[in-house]
Symmetry: C4
Subunit: 219 residues, 4 copies
């Protein structure tokens, strides 16, 4: 199971590169090992080209290294906090993707003006607090903002994006879609005011997408 | 004939990726099967990398699955409505391409200020109504907006773009050109007012391009 | 010599794609055949992937097809006009590259606020007149604007860019650099006013670059 | 040692291309040869595709050619000045990357409103003077601006970016991160005012990143 999670988490980093969500080594994916109090995460400061399943790092839910030859990502404490406090979460992604981080730097939530955003996030994408790295502040900010919220993405002020999902792949999808809607809404706003979508339309889009979209088993 | 349409529709999805018109699985191409009341469309929620001619789905003109192992795209009803009401249409494309969708979010047509836009679209690219997915609302909005209009692209409000063509390839070309002009006109407008093109010049550019451009047989 | 020019002109189209200067089939390179009253140009409406040296078209300086199985680019008359009236020109490039065309749509020259722009263009990049395709209007607009001007690029109003060079490669370089400076100056202007460069500094940068830069034989 | 530096400096040019920091031949990396008063730099006007370890040029600290078949980069004097006056520097990079150069064209420092910017640059990225190429003016401007400054990047007015590092790779990383933060802060500013980060938070982020991040030996 650990071997499979190492492989999947490693492979998903290539999606961050492909969708241009990361520069140099500044972004990471983690995945909970099914049935264990463990998660797999990127090693710190290693370039995406050099990642292999073997170089991935296994940590316990306090973020302590359990298995691996490298130091874990410097964001490990934030990932660990999320896994400890949100048992339904199977994957966490962190990026500094450009447009989402631009909203985060202004501390401004992304308004829900696209049907794709209603589908995926069920409303605006919220902003979490400014928090320093090291310790539980970032993790606490993520969990506090996302608990009870439909959005699976949070813009951490002046910092970047964290997304969660039932699996690492779902969290990566949320990271890709978050940047996509952050960009489109930004560009729309540059030349005027996007038309709001009525709340009951957002509700029905979100409901449909969560329950109907995709191949039933492949979601 | 179905085999050939499966192959062509599958292949054209790679153009959506190449021209950066789609993120994750959010865009689709369909093609009418020549001489049949059928069309081929992308399966729902399957990533572009994994598409094969065999995984494409065949539907009748009511959007019901006729052949294929996967559920058809969640946009199938909109495609089907277009094929039922516009017999001259051989291909339909749907994307959330960034700049076109940014205009759509404001509900603002793209003004015709580029000769390439006059060539391809013969005037502004119009906006269709806000419509929820599921049922005929989106399809009806597309057909109502494009019927009798020169433009082969419509910006569906808060949603994205639908394009039509005599073939799937022509519809993909319209999707590529729609995003290209949406981007260029957006950027031009950011620093001032683009110079309008006089209507009779638009007419003569459109007329020439539709009748003279390209290799006669390859259009 | 024709064979060599076919190969070079074909190869250079890949640079237009690599630098993202073209969408679908909307851009072309041509090259004068050394020592002949002929030039080689892209066939009309053929995609960049499918271009081969053999599919390139040879025209005389009136733009009439001399050799080739395809119709020449619909911009052939403009290229031919340039070769007839500017004997020092060995290559011509036409694109609708995004940022340059955005300036062209406003009919606004690009001010010289970058040292790289002083190097390559020796001052602002000028705007040519609105002109319809078909006949000599576009070619005349290019020549009238560039004759006696340092810039090897002209923004044709509402249309796109034409660049010239002593060779096809030099014209492609001018097209790449034109889009690069169009983009950088646009972005700089979005948040304020770029600092002007004093005219005598522009002169000395231009002079140095034209005479000192690069490997002596490889320019 | 020279062979190893040639290989590394050659290889790092591909990162400039990969991160889209350069157009045509307009950017260069150099690296000090460990233990020698020499550095390796890109040949002038050669395209990135054609670079090989053998085509790289070796210069002394006055910027004079010591070994190599090509003329050294036209920016060699600036690199040499930095190596002469900053003995701790092992690598220098110069680019005209789009967003950083847009700030440089306005002569405006990039404010520190991102935690990643506090990490990497420890504060705002400063602007250096307008300086003509040829002679020591550019080198002097770089050294004067960066001496005693935390930032390893300087925006040379109307020109572009120079970055320094303890190794060529560290200087390339600084160039990549400089463009990344220049872009994100630009985009954030387009729609309002980014939230400032308090100076003592910047200090603690910078301190932590310089001392804790990455695999200890791989920094």
């Amino acid at each position: 199971m650990i071997t499979e999670t190492r492989r999947e988490v490693c492979r998903l980093h290539a999606e961050l590169v492909r969708y241009d969500l990361v520069a140099w080594t500044a972004g990471n994916v983690s995945g909970r090992v099914p049935g264990e109090d463990l998660f797999v995460i990127k090693p710190s400061g290693v370039s995406y080209d050099e990642l292999t399943p073997e170089s991935m790092v296994v940590c316990d839910l306090d973020g302590k290294l359990v298995e691996g030859d490298h130091a874990p990502s410097s964001d490990t404490e934030a990932h660990a906090y999320v896994y400890r406090h949100m048992p339904e979460v199977g994957g966490v992604v962190h990026t500094h993707s450009t447009y989402a981080t631009a909203w985060a730097a202004r501390g401004e939530p992304i308004p829900c003006v696209l049907t794709a955003m209603a589908d995926e996030f069920g409303g605006p994408i919220p902003v979490g607090p400014f928090a320093l790295i090291g310790g539980d502040d970032i993790g606490r900010g993520i969990v506090k903002t996302l608990a009870g919220h439909r959005s699976r993405a949070v813009l951490m002020q002046n910092h970047g994006v964290f997304t969660i999902g039932e699996s690492p792949k779902a969290a990566v999808k949320a990271a890709v879609m978050c940047e996509d809607v952050a960009r489109t809404v930004h560009i729309s706003r540059q030349l005027g005011r996007p038309v709001p979508i009525e709340p009951h339309h957002i509700d029905s889009l979100f409901d449909r997408y969560q329950n109907v979209y995709g191949q039933r088993s492949a979601k």
